[in-house]
């Protein structure tokens, strides 16, 4: 499949990329690793006149401690995130989530910023429409849904694996335009609207991901369920962070985020409330796994039924909590 004609621009910095966006706004797309945009262009669901390619910027991307935060340039490749000693020390949950994305080749090209800004997906949307389909679906600007025939809305899911981990870690995101900059909590990046999953305008670009200093005693785990177990988007993904008292046994709180089952990652806030003050135990994990379904109602997607994902979720949450508890540093 050949790419249709477009004008590529190769900015020398994120700031220059933001300037290009300011100039070309509605007819330009950002290409970081190319692993999301180019397939969509080839399927005919994206047709930018201008492609602002950030591939060369990845070579100079920085990961550093800045003002008490772990600052990761958005053009950092997922492989660079995984290999970074700073990430492994301060946010191993992120390294694990990045390792779950795609394949080695995709991780060498795809960036952390790109994973945050993945377009939402659906089996029917993410393929060429040349021969099979009579009318465009909701996400393509039409008025029908192929996933739910006679459905009245879009059911595309947001499947970025790193986002549940970043939400657990309390990440913030710096977003730039040609003239301005803003910083938001990562939860505020997602609209929950499958037609437009990101709260970013066409003239904005994610420039940095910032992680606060972690608490001293935490346990963490990332789990991703898919059929093949590699090179696939998740059927569902779970990120778990447990914060513990100095005794290493009593939980002071925690976060649990489920990805790829809805149009945005979902925090299990009600289930999280069951954690503070409790001693970690198998029984507690089973109890929380049961509570998860009050917060998280999976969509059916990509061949996984909603009822299957609901059951799968309980198992993945329980396993993730168990692994997280095993990773809590023991008291000296």
């Amino acid at each position: 499949m050949r790419l249709p004609r477009f004008q590529p621009l190769q900015p020398k910095s994120i700031e220059e990329a933001a300037e290009f966006l300011g100039k070309y706004g509605g007819v330009a797309e950002i290409m970081a690793g190319g692993t999301d945009l180019f397939p969509r262009i080839k399927y005919g669901v994206a047709s930018p006149e201008v492609v602002i390619t950030l591939r060369k910027l990845s070579r100079e991307s920085q990961i550093a401690i800045q003002d008490g935060f772990l600052s990761i340039d958005s053009v950092t490749t997922l492989s660079q995130v995984i290999r970074s000693e700073l990430v492994r020390e301060h946010a191993p949950l992120l390294a694990d989530a990045a390792l779950a994305v795609g394949s080695h080749q995709i991780r060498n090209m795809g960036t952390l910023g790109g994973n945050l800004c993945l377009e939402s997906r659906c089996t029917y949307y993410n393929q060429s429409h040349a021969f099979q389909f009579v009318e465009p679906c909701f996400k393509r600007g039409g008025e029908i849904c192929y996933h739910v025939p006679k459905g009245k809305r879009c059911w595309a899911v947001f499947a970025g694996d790193t986002v549940p981990a970043l939400m657990c870690l309390g990440a913030e995101v710096e977003i730039k335009t040609a003239t301005d900059s803003r910083r938001v909590s990562i939860d505020q990046l997602y609209t929950g609207n499958p037609l437009r999953p990101l709260a970013i305008s066409p003239t904005e670009i994610v420039s940095k991901i910032l992680l606060p200093k972690p608490s001293a005693r935490t346990g963490w785990a990332f789990a991703k369920f898919s059929l093949r177990g590699g090179l696939e988007f998740a059927g569902l993904s779970v990120a778990v962070l447990l914060e513990m008292m100095d005794d290493g046994l009593t939980c002071t709180g925690g976060r649990m985020v489920v990805g790829s089952v809805s149009s945005q990652p979902l925090r299990a806030k009600k289930a999280e409330k069951a954690l503070p003050g409790k001693q970690l135990s198998n029984d507690l994990f089973y109890e929380i796994a049961e509570m998860i379904s009050e917060d998280v109602k999976p969509f059916s997607h990509h061949g996984y039924s909603a009822s299957y994902l609901k059951k799968c979720l309980k198992i993945q949450v329980k396993d993730a909590l168990t692994l997280a508890s095993q990773r809590v540093p023991q008291s000296p």
Partner: protein, 159 residues
């Protein structure tokens, strides 16, 4: 309007006029006659277009040629020295890890990169490193055996 770029492929520098939206895969196959890299899907889901960029596996079907200036590209044609196959290539042949051969260039390059970084990988590490390379013929077992064989040979050579 075509763009003039300098591409370093298998140690040789080429000055090429490429369409701005030309992928590295198209340029390798159509302008440099290096047809080892294949188009299996064109969307990053099969790995048959795998080449090494500064020693790291990437998908050439999703890479613009213009973004490859200043990068050393290695294709399957750049591995063997004349008739002397590398240990990985040798092991693939001897273990029956090649059937139709379509996935083989991408596989061999991915394995070569793996063994450079992790000379003695476990089966799990091998499968993780090769998760981006699909094979419809072999069922992968012979490929994993070939990787283990290549790892053993390389370590006994270095011992």
């Amino acid at each position: 309007m075509k763009t003039l770029i300098s591409l370093s492929v298998n140690g040789e520098l080429h000055e090429l006029a490429v369409a701005p939206q030309a992928t590295l895969l198209e340029v390798l196959r159509e302008q440099l006659d290096l047809t080892g890299a294949k188009e299996g899907c064109g969307t990053g889901e099969c790995g048959t277009c795998t080449v090494l960029a500064d020693g790291q596996p990437i998908l050439s079907c999703l890479t613009l040629a213009i973004d490859c200036e200043g990068t050393e590209i290695t294709t399957i044609e750049g591995l063997a020295q004349g008739d002397n196959l590398t240990p990985v290539q040798q092991a693939f042949l001897e273990k029956g890890a090649v059937q139709c051969g379509f996935c083989t260039p991408g596989m061999v390059l991915a394995v070569t990169a793996l063994l450079r970084e992790s000379p003695n990988p476990s089966d799990q590490e091998i499968k993780k490193a090769l998760e981006g390379n699909l094979c419809r013929c072999t069922g992968y077992n012979k490929i994993v055996e070939a990787v283990n064989e290549a790892a053993e040979r390389s370590s006994s050579t270095n011992a």
